[in-house]
Symmetry: C3
Subunit: 261 residues, 3 copies
């Protein structure tokens, strides 16, 4: 297994073209996170362009945070194209438990077997039909409580599932890896989880999904640690976070990643 810095260096060398279909809150920060990391983001989320653009993109991120009929159709179309092309895509099931509409949309996307599903603990529990204690889009469950659900979901899709929180849990159903980087101010900035899913997609391009996901999570958490040191609150944290994503080198990441099996 390569060290995390390898995946960051590869992303920066290739500047992958990213298609993002995300929610209204995350549009700007998700693009800025991908740019700061070294990818080339495009937010192509209408039904007329989604499938044609998916023919060009290196990877796709889908986030169901503020779905409407136009973007929901675009999600299904783009995911199908990525599957046909053998290209990676990430599903972020934001707030999947809050309505039946969202559960149905997420179920249809899960059935297309996303390369990586990244969610908080309550979202992953909901996806496998377990009881969850979410409050809106925030998790009410611990990452530990969702480990079994993550494994079950990964076995069902045959792909990778990442549950993020104070300690992230990544599994392909057989192996499980923990990532301990991060900072308590991260959940105080809106859409940082959404932007992380978009970043994971950029790390997946032509890489093994489990390892690339772990690298993305460690990089993101390390940027959070750097941003948090000296931040006066969530406003300055977000500024410093983008600076840190841009500044962290592959060597920094290898030295700072807190990854364990």
């Amino acid at each position: 297994m390569e060290q995390p810095g390898y995946y960051l260096a590869t992303l920066r060398a290739n500047a992958p073209l990213m298609q993002n279909i995300t929610n209204k809150v995350a549009q700007n920060i998700a693009a800025n996170v991908q740019l700061a990391a070294g990818a080339s983001p495009a937010m192509v989320d209408n039904r007329a362009e989604s499938a044609p653009f998916a023919q060009l993109a290196d990877a796709l991120s889908i986030n169901i945070g503020t779905p409407d009929p136009e973007t929901a159709g675009a999600m299904m179309d783009a995911a199908q194209v990525m599957n046909d092309r053998g290209c990676p895509w990430v599903l972020d099931p934001v707030g999947v438990g809050i309505t039946g509409y969202r559960r149905d949309l997420a179920a249809r996307l899960v059935a297309l077997r996303p390369t990586v599903i990244r969610g908080n603990a309550s979202e992953i529990l909901t996806l496998v039909g377990a009881e969850a204690a979410a409050s809106g889009v925030d998790s009410g469950d611990t990452v530990e409580a969702a480990e079994g659900a993550a494994r079950e979901l990964a076995l069902r899709t045959g792909k990778v599932v990442a549950v993020t929180g104070p300690v992230d849990h990544v599994t392909d159903g057989t192996r499980a890896i923990l990532v301990e980087n991060g900072h308590p101010l991260m959940p105080k900035v809106t859409a940082l989880g959404c932007a992380l899913s978009a970043l994971v997609a950029a790390f997946l391009v032509r890489q093994p999904p489990l390892e690339a996901t772990v690298a993305a999570l460690a990089y993101y958490g390390l940027a959070g640690e750097r941003a948090g040191a000296g931040a006066a609150g969530p406003g300055s944290f977000q500024v410093r976070f983008l600076d840190a994503l841009h500044a962290i080198t592959p060597e920094d990441l290898n030295a700072g990643a807190k990854v364990r099996a």
Copy 2:
């Protein structure tokens, strides 16, 4: 009447679940303001989910800044549910005078009797059918000039109306309270008024509307004062403003609020 800090402490203790149906510009900053204050925001603004989610939310904010058929329908549905459940909701009639479409939409929402209507002076004047001198979404009238309109509107809805500007005016039609906190850079950051309306909604949860609104305005203005001291312009102001919302304690608010009847 409780001191303003009481309402901030209550908000933080309860972390209310907020439904926000807001404009495209305000999505990110409104969520970040609610998070920095201590609430749990969700931007659920499509017609399929709006009413079901309103069954779960503690309060609702509606902002007509960039309406379209999908979100306008979601607004009406969610407001009706909040009324049925006896839960509070805020209407922000952004730029209500600019088109007949917007006047009609606002009129239909006002007819549902929002717990609080918060707008600038031109918007409040327009809502009662008076002459207003708005330029787009910016007010061309003084808060003082809209005091009569605010009283009239509050008597018509039987609820609370807040006119914000250099000095804010809050009334339930009988009582009127002025809030003098604030900073001149606040109108130089887009959507800070929109985000304030979302914040007011979070303060309203299980509290008396007039007092809770006054507390929200004082808290917001105090954060503006703190942010403005040392800001180099609207960019650094916004960063410092989110930091200040997060840092201000109930005691700080009691000491810094400039409220008078």
Copy 3:
């Protein structure tokens, strides 16, 4: 020809009312850029309001970054009104080459002869039917390679075309002016190009288009230079950039503009 500062001073004196129909990523930053410069932005992009509001606005900016049927219809309607009224408008053909849908929409807008078309080199090449090497919304071509295309496009519309990049090229088909202000971090912040197009529209109000566009580009690039000096990355750059737009005086602009024929 007036110096660039003249156009900035005029903008600030008049605080023009701007209609912006832009993409989901750029909504907030485009409004903040216009506010920091001294304009009064409104994001009116639905079909019901677009034409009526265009009757009131001093200028219009159109950006095709995340089009959908609702906003695409609003674009056509508003542009037609501005033409009927003799008011200026700007087209930003974001990522025009990525799909046939976008090429068609851009072609219909170009046929309405925008006062200024501002794009990156690949976008301008695509608009005249030349080969372009774009990756998504990022340019894969140099500004120099698009100079002929810019001239051709300007002659076709009878208006102004601006190709932006490390050195910007502005032409009305006869004259060509170069603007050398700018900073390498600018493309690392999402939607700064989109926001620039919105800013150009504000400079055009009752001014000669070529000269006003040059002034807007020099002002924007100068703000980038100020922001870049001392920025730790794209996060702090964006903050400092908005501060600089707000702080730069007409005299600063006259002293710092790097413009040559």
